[in-house]
């Protein structure tokens, strides 16, 4: 197996910390060098914060595992400086097709509009994604990664977290101010702390088979309900890079996972699905069951749980790794402000509030998909099949057909960090939502709006032309730049050619896209968080209001 990929081996290097007389202290330690842990480390490291990453293994993911990465995850990777190799290597796709008893019943396009830098989804084997992330980690001098370092004890008091680490050279102690836990669904740290992730176990088994084949299928997601070659169950076909194809077979609860994993049992299933004459090689296989569950509270004092360690979903919808990256996107700017003593620790509790809400939404959506795909009673199977039958004829039934609601972002409408609207707006850019990307022009060069934001709060101001800015607006822009919490103005002009103001980035609209997406009448001002969420907006710029909202968005009010 694995004809297309060889796992790299990262060297275990003995650290001077291991010979120290007492525990060496680090500001932040991350447990787990998977996509989520590495995302957290990069977000700290690339903005100058020292961070130590511990991983109990010395390689990337064994097997392709998570393969679908969403637009939002890619936008986060882009901010962290590692999206490019992922997009180059990955298979970009937007279209999903759904078949019922071998007949195409509906299809969807996940990104029906242009004007976003990132595609709706790419498919990329998790090992490639992690390898590119390790490459990025190694570029950053602020990040130290220790392979073959396994956390075996965790204790904390009000001021410090103490750890014991096991290595090939024996045990040693470490301490830190903050511990970020990203050690996956079966989190050892969670268990060591006596904490639980609770929810629902689904009584079904699925077989994943990755095969290598040269086939003329388009890069689309094909989901089959009750196909003739696999009666009463479902299958999925999805392309990855290197001509590797992911096949997913629903097996039912009574099947023996060890038997099903044997090539002699997999190959007939593949042939039944792909046809007898298709030339393929089996690359990797796994039989899985799944759970939908989460921890009660993602923050435990100075220990912060992220990704699958904090919450777990069924695989339908690609809401696992994609939501884990949104966790760290949400957490790290808050942690930095707390570490700089510019915000109280309560700001970290809003990480819990916001991401627990998102986890509940992800669990809800993936549970609904699972219930549709594997009906639990006779009546629910009647409704499921009726929906699929009607979807051949009627739009409403197509929309009800649920083969996985693919990862999207939670709209944090009720977040305490938002300032409620006092003016009226059209469209979806409400406080609590991730702001939309849009094409813009920066001094004759094409650029993307999301790439124009830095890792700080942004005051996004739309005007017809720079000449329209009044003296008081210019003064407001000037004073806002002197806030203790970094706030950077960004002006988007909708009509006039570019004029410059010292030290301020001025972008020009392209084809009215941002104007439309942000309902941007002249004067419209948005306050954007470092994680690119809208937290306040007004129809005109008022420095006092922006300042108040900035304090609210950092739990300083």
């Amino acid at each position: 197996m694995f004809s297309t990929y060889k796992n790299p081996v990262y060297e275990y290097i003995k650290s001077p910390d291991q010979s120290a007389d007492k525990a060496v202290h680090h500001p932040v330690i991350v447990v787990g060098a998977g996509p989520v842990g590495m995302g957290a480390a990069m977000d700290l490291g690339q903005y100058g914060n020292d961070v130590l990453v511990l991983d109990d293994n010395n390689t990337v993911s064994v097997g392709s595992r998570a393969i679908c990465f969403s637009k939002r995850a890619l936008e986060i990777f882009d901010r962290l400086g590692c999206a490019e190799p992922m997009i180059d290597k990955g298979v970009t796709w937007n279209v999903g097709k759904i078949f019922f008893r071998d007949e195409l019943v509906t299809q969807f396009d996940l990104l029906p509009e242009a004007g976003h830098k990132m595609p709706a989804f790419i498919n990329l084997q998790q090992y490639y994604l992690e390898e590119y992330m390790v490459d990025r980690l190694n570029q950053l001098e602020t990040i130290e990664t220790r392979w073959k370092n396994k956390v075996i004890t965790v204790e904390q008091d009000d001021d410090i977290v103490s750890l014991t680490i096991d290595t090939p050279d024996g045990k040693y102690d470490l301490s830190c101010d903050w511990l970020i836990v990203a050690d996956g669904a079966n989190s050892d740290v969670r268990a060591m702390m006596g904490l639980e992730s609770t929810g629902k176990v689904f009584k079904d088994r699925f077989l994943i088979a990755d095969i290598v084949m040269k086939a003329g299928f388009p890069p689309e997601r094909w989901f089959n309900f009750d196909p003739s070659y696999h009666r009463g169950q479902s299958t999925l076909l999805h392309r990855q890079s290197d001509d590797v194809w992911r096949l997913d077979f629903q097996l039912g609860w009574d099947k023996d996972p060890e038997e099903e994993k044997k090539p002699e049992n997999i190959i007939p299933r593949v042939k039944a699905m792909m046809g007898d004459d298709v030339d393929f090689e089996l690359e990797w296989a796994s039989v899985y069951t799944f759970q939908c569950r989460r921890m009660q509270r993602f923050r435990q004092g100075r220990v912060l749980f992220t990704g699958d360690a904090a919450h777990q979903v069924s695989p339908f919808g690609a809401r696992g790794a994609n939501s884990g990256l949104q966790d760290t996107d949400n957490l790290i700017w808050k942690l930095k402000l707390v570490m700089q003593q510019k915000a109280p620790q309560q700001l970290l509790d809003t990480y819990c509030d916001e991401r627990e809400f998102a986890a509940d939404e992800n669990i809800m959506n993936s549970t609904r998909s699972t219930d549709f795909i594997t009906p639990k009673s006779a009546v629910s199977k009647y409704f499921r099949d009726a929906t699929l039958e009607l979807s051949k004829r009627f739009d409403f039934a197509r929309k009800l057909t649920n083969s996985g609601r693919l990862s999207d972002t939670a709209v944090l409408l009720d977040s305490t960090l938002n300032t409620p609207d006092e003016d009226s707006f059209e469209g979806d850019m409400v406080p609590g939502t991730v702001m939309s990307d849009a094409p813009v022009v920066n001094q004759n060069a094409k650029q993307w709006l999301l790439n124009s934001l830095g890792n700080h709060f942004t005051c996004l101001i739309f005007v017809n032309s720079v000449d329209d800015l009044s003296l008081s607006e210019l003064e407001a822009i000037d004073t806002l730049q002197r806030e203790e919490i970094q706030l950077v103005p960004l002006i988007v002009v909708t009509e006039q050619a570019l004029t410059t103001i010292d030290d301020i980035q001025i972008l020009a609209e392209t084809d009215g896209v941002s104007k439309q997406r942000f309902d941007a009448l002249p004067g419209t001002t948005y306050l954007i968080r470092p994680d690119q969420h809208v937290c306040a907006r007004w129809r005109s710029l008022d420095a006092d209001k922006v300042r108040q909202s900035l304090l609210r968005a950092t739990a300083n009010l």
């Binding site: 549709f372 006779a378 004829r393 009627f394 409403f396 929309k399």
Partner: protein, 74 residues
């Protein structure tokens, strides 16, 4: 009036941000309604539900179209 076969599920006083959300909310409630019922009781509940929905629609021409659409191909 023609039968509306476009997606029409919505919350009366709540904005949702994903096109699938209101339909999925309905579908979950529909399956939940049957939770713990025997197959026979589920049939009874479905019959009651159809009658209630039919009365809510009221318009006989629309109802005839729904019945024709439901019966088709059988």
């Amino acid at each position: 009036m023609d039968l509306n076969t476009d997606s029409n599920f919505h919350h009366p006083h709540k904005k949702v941000f994903r096109a699938y959300r209101a339909g999925d909310d309905f579908y979950e409630a529909l399956i939940e309604m049957h939770q713990g019922l025997s197959d026979e009781d589920s049939q009874r509940v479905n019959a009651r539900l159809i009658l209630l929905l039919a009365n809510q629609i009221g318009d006989l021409s629309v109802l005839q179209q729904t019945m024709d659409a439901a019966r088709k191909d059988l």
